[in-house]
Point group: C2
Chain length 135, copies 2
DNA sequence: CCTTGACTTCAAGTCAACTTGAAGTGGCAC
DNA sequence: GTGCCACTTCAAGTTGACTTGAAGTCAAGG
């Protein structure tokens, strides 16, 4: 597959594909002239990358995951760690969603005066000590 | 309260407080000499900002919310829209978490060979068409 | 009064994840 | 066999959310 085919099949722009290759996230199998050639498998890999990105992993973290693919122990540990992290994020977002939902329906003149909203707020504030990880 | 008190009380660095003031997200009530003076209420506001950030709002969006605080119709509509957005994000992250959890336990030699994982992957890939909104 | 050091401003730097632009190359339809 | 245009490289630009640095100000303790 050439780069534009991969782009079309994956929805990832060619510029991003080149960028990812430079970062070591994907690999081309060769060149036809100057042009990169990719295996169809790369589309799968891109889906995996998209998956990781959506889960809040940085490109570097994803690259690290691919790199340690051969050592299942570390890999699995990392994965379940990330799952835990995600779990915390989900809990926070759920509280947030409920808060927003309530705020949208609440008749209090200002949300700050609504006890439910205030409760949510302090919960969210206390849970806000992730540094860079969860996004 | 002076800026360092607010910083201490809120956990937000002074540099960020100045930055937020410049952006119109918070306001100081005056100066003592050169130094900003804040009302204690600002801590609440900062919690609200943290809440918004954690929910995936940009600073501009948060500023807009504060600005439209007087027009409940638009405000509530925006809030429930954001709640819906959050809901979609949560669903995706939940699938992701389950996938990670499974991958951590799955005995398949490579995750790509596990049908459960592949199913998750394509689900995530298809759900990856948020442009800038959900992060 | 004088020093100290927490504050101030403003410009510039950083970081991640890309995108854009300019200039060059070469595969392939005609 | 030749011209087009999709590809290539490499450097620089972009965006959002801050942080850092240099240089200056001033409230307060001694």
């Amino acid at each position: 597959m050439d780069i534009s085919e991969v782009a079309r099949a994956s929805g990832v722009p060619a510029s991003t594909l080149r960028f990812y290759e430079e970062k070591g996230l994907i690999a081309s199998v060769g060149r036809r002239g100057l042009r990169r050639t990719f295996e169809p498998r790369v589309v799968e890999r891109l889906a995996l990358i998209a998956l990781g990105r959506a889960a809040g992993f940085s490109l570097d973290e994803i690259a690290r995951m691919f790199a340690t693919e051969r050592r299942p122990r570390i890999d699995r540990q990392l994965l379940s760690g990330k799952a835990d992290q995600l779990d915390r994020t989900i809990r926070k977002l759920t509280a947030m969603r409920d808060g927003l939902r309530h705020a949208a329906a609440c008749p209090a003149p200002s949300h700050l005066e609504c006890p439910k909203f205030r409760r949510l707020m302090s919960a969210a504030a206390s849970g806000a000590r992730r540094k860079k990880s969860a996004r």
